[in-house]
Symmetry: C2
């Protein structure tokens, strides 16, 4: 993708939150139109599609205040400043699931919500999984449980609309060559 | 998914932008943790997976200022107040692509970025496509072109990382029973 930044004419507003910065800017787009646009500036996220030696996928069912409920997601986390995505996701996989992976392969990357966010998700296949000897302590505001599903079960959960989010469906698609959906 | 809203303790800040509202609130989550969380309140979006009688998928290559470039996406649009998702996407398909569909089927719905946004995408399969007699006029700030791809070509573009976003990959997955990826 060719990089075509808009021209920044005026910074109206910005708010630094927990994980992203909200900005309202006056921009000139490549086609010449000018106006105020609001968006999320996000450091990016990293996602694992973890597969156990038995061929089970490791997911988390996680409370999301914005969604007002519990969603079924692949383990993922927000990049810290200057952090490589693979470092992020190796840490997050351990913290969220209690597994570590000995083999990592890039599955590519994608924009999550490009209408209003610059967040890119870096996706990895994580294999050669083994449970950690010592299970991790959770952050106080994380409210999640680990769920093991076969690829067929995850496909069925997506088709039934059981609260699987976009990055999880996209990561599952990117990993499809590595397992039979059946 | 069971509805479990957080308890709203204090509204710190909100900004109404073009398509969404940015909020910072003090919340109490179901597990008892309290704090300030920032998020996007979005009216929701609707997406079409449009298939021509020849089996081609209709996509748009669209400039996205947040992504600083052009992404390959299924036609989609933001719900207007009180609008049914199907009404939104029937209008957006015509405006963005110059096609209308005579048959619509729900493919389900998913959260787009539940870590910080309540946006739900409602996905539809759009078939019996025909070009409009009169091609639509574009909004001044829309900068897009129509792209026809076979399902195999779209899968290859996703695998090569050619700027296909999460909702498009997820919509493609949800529609997979309706065409052979090959």
């Amino acid at each position: 993708m060719r990089n075509e930044p808009p021209e920044l004419l005026h910074k109206w507003l910005w708010v630094q939150g927990r994980k992203f910065r909200y900005e309202v800017n006056r921009l000139r787009l490549p086609n010449g139109s000018e106006g105020e646009w609001d968006c999320v500036r996000h450091p990016g996220g990293a996602l694992a599609v973890p597969v156990t030696p038995e061929g089970q996928l490791v997911l988390v069912r996680q409370y999301r205040f914005a969604a007002q409920g519990r969603l079924l997601e692949f383990p993922a986390g927000t990049l810290e400043a200057g952090e490589a995505p693979l470092t992020t996701i190796q840490r997050e996989l351990q913290e969220e699931t209690g597994y570590q992976a000995h083999k990592w392969q890039s599955l590519g990357e994608f924009f999550l919500a490009p209408g209003y966010s610059d967040e890119v998700i870096y996706a990895y296949l994580a294999t050669d999984l083994a449970p950690l000897a010592q299970q991790p302590e959770r952050d106080a505001d994380e409210d999640m449980e680990v769920v093991l599903l076969s690829p067929q079960e995850l496909a069925a959960a997506i088709d039934r609309g059981e609260g699987v989010d976009a990055k999880t469906i996209a990561g599952f698609f990117l990993a499809r060559h590595y397992f039979k959906e059946g």
